[in-house]
Symmetry: C2
Subunit: 409 residues, 2 copies
């Protein structure tokens, strides 16, 4: 519903949820978009940044971004993680009242929130309560998540850079595993969706060996069965003398119970009810113990088994995908443009244009289209119970950018 | 003892121990050095590569590297991990007899072995048994180890690239930890020596914040006390609301007992008696549990605590230090030159030239100077019980190369 009356006042931008390598690109994109649009037309006076999302907003912990020089913006854009600080707060009605009070106090009329599923829900809640209270506020969500699980979007800013890290990591680790063969299990981020784990498949071929890993890929979309897992590993190991495995931290058993969450002693829970999956090696260690116990070499001893959990480096490694950087920036700019076009609210979705070469378009969608919803890997991206399809590889490759090429004797 | 009679026959080169991001540079350096020297003078006919170290040699699993084109050598040199395959075999007398028989069979007179402490010992054993048996063989060791724990050497090829990874990882992770504050524990490789864990200190200042992590650094050289650890974390956390910790996988209690080794269920042991420390998240998880149990916020709940174990990516990440690449290559070339100069045997040591700018020299030393010996961090590199000194930072900085510069609002 573009063309609504433009409001006059200040704009605020915040970052929320797990940070990524390019979430600052989106933040800078919003600032640039506002400067070129609503600031230039005089509708926006000040561009403010919330420290630690809505938490900072309610406390008046705001910084003035109106006059930050372009070279500083550029440097911040190329810095991983949330420069303003992030938050996992889930605002209830009282919290929202505080948010609206802070908006009133600072004459904020434009609200931009960069985040994932939970953050888009925060944005939706703030939007709805503003309307209900009669406080005129334009609320926009800018997508980000390494899990790549926002609906409507072809993919989400943050995912391509994390996928790049995962592909590089599996390629290098597969070479290491070829040097000193054994079973190597790598646990990859992804609460409900297997996209990031699937990105490990891009490592194949980089090492110049038809036997390059990963040899097995386990996503949360396929129920994980430990007997099948052992049989799979044994099959690969007995054939080529080694086996590199990609396992999502979010794998679930046939009843939909998270295997990792059960294993983490004293796992912590955030205000959105998400149980800690990252920041622990428990899942990898458990699978490693299983392999040691159940697979034996001819001498009766288990193979060499190691597990790595890639952890937070996946979302902050400072070698972002170039495509991701550009798209994350553009998503922020487009959100500011939507506000300038008189949109009342919305989220910005990344839609892949048909055909080759790869091209991405940006489209305003309803907040309710993404808020608190999760996209899973589509069936055509999954192959059997332990692999991904060529369709996934073709989907993912243009996002991560050029990968190194290795050679071997 | 340069100037000994040159032998005529073939040369063999192998890689051993944990691979690194630049161990192929040394392999290619040996090949190049032989081509320019003993091959050019006609003393060496064939340049052979052992598959998986002495294991491949005894089985006749050799590949001919004599005529590999330079562009292929270049690509392999820039590929992480051991292109020939590595080995952790520890040859006893029978094993050595097989090695000498293989040398005889393939008319091998020059033996080059790229590896760390255990591999230099393998080289020493082969050398001594060849002498004892009267089989004329020239044995040379080319240093590598991410642990940086070879004596005599200022530093060891492989360490600078691993240190680069660790510094980048801590810098990016510190930004992540600033976004969503809490206690973050990162476990770093290093069996007995803390150099690699200490390299985390290079991350300070990259994020543009005087409070950048790591805030605490625990090396194996300082006995680890859990009460002191909790007190240290609490002090930092209560002051700045977050705490990033670097912990060596090799930390030991006051009795010299490895804390990590005790925690890894069914930890595996190699033929040199090294108990598995990497490839498990147990140490990080245990420390994480400790913090959750013993540190509380004002609301009585523990802080957000996460642990990552950086694992094998530290030694194979495909973004090697430029200095490391050059030095690893040169170490291989110098070993081949030493053989051409009529040295009977030896290891190549990297010696830092005095003064600025940074410069490194290469020197032949005795195999017995390094074989199976371990260097620890010198006292002047350690500060108190949980930090490293400025002297260490000045020592380490020229090795890792330029690091990214970040900015923040």
């Amino acid at each position: 519903m573009a063309g609504a009356k433009l409001l006059t006042g200040n704009a605020v931008v915040g970052q929320s949820g797990g940070p990524t390598a390019v979430i600052n690109q989106s933040l800078v994109g919003v600032v640039e978009g506002l400067r070129a649009g609503l600031k230039a037309t005089g509708n926006v006076q000040k561009i403010l940044g919330m420290r630690h999302g809505v938490n900072g907003l309610t406390k008046g912990d705001l910084i003035d971004l109106t006059e930050v020089p372009q070279d500083k913006l550029e440097r911040v854009a190329n810095t991983p993680s949330a420069s303003l600080g992030s938050s996992r707060d889930k605002p209830d009605k009282d919290y929202c009242a505080k948010i609206l009070k802070a908006c009133e106090q600072h004459n904020i009329r434009y609200f931009f929130y960069v985040g994932g599923n939970d953050s888009s829900d925060t944005c939706r809640i703030v939007n709805e309560l503003a309307r209900a209270s009669g406080y005129e506020l334009r609320c926009f969500h800018v997508p980000k998540t390494v899990d790549n699980d926002l609906p409507v979007n072809d993919h989400t800013p943050g995912f391509p850079s994390a996928a790049r890290f995962v592909a590089m990591a599996f390629a290098a680790d597969s070479l290491d595993n070829r040097s000193l063969p054994g079973v190597k299990i790598n646990v990859v981020m992804g609460r409900h969706a297997g996209f990031l784990t699937a990105a490990s498949a891009l490592a194949r071929g980089i090492g110049g060996d038809p036997n390059d890993g990963p040899h097995l890929i386990y996503c949360p979309e396929v129920p994980f069965d430990t007997d099948q897992f052992i049989a799979d590993v044994e099959k690969v190991y007995s054939k080529i003398g080694r086996c590199q495995v990609a396992v999502s931290e979010g794998i679930q058993d046939k009843d939909g119970v998270s295997i990792g969450a059960k294993l983490i002693k004293n796992g912590q829970v955030d205000s959105h009810g998400n149980v800690q999956l990252s920041g622990s090696g428990a899942l990898g260690d458990q699978l490693s113990d299983l392999v040691k116990a159940r697979i034996k070499n001819k001498d009766g001893k288990p193979p060499r088994v190691r597990a790595d959990t890639f952890g937070y480096l996946q979302r902050c490694w400072p070698d972002a995908s170039v495509v991701d950087k550009q798209e994350a920036r553009e998503a922020g700019r487009v959100a500011a443009k939507a506000a300038a076009a008189g949109e009342m609210d919305g989220s910005i979705a990344l839609i892949r244009a048909p055909g080759n070469p790869y091209r991405c378009e940006f489209k305003r969608i309803e907040l309710s289209d993404v808020a608190a919803k999760t996209k899973h890997m589509p069936k055509e991206f999954i192959q059997g119970s332990n692999d991904v399809s060529q369709a996934f590889i073709e989907y993912c490759r243009p996002l991560v950018g050029p990968l190194p090429v290795f050679d071997r004797f």
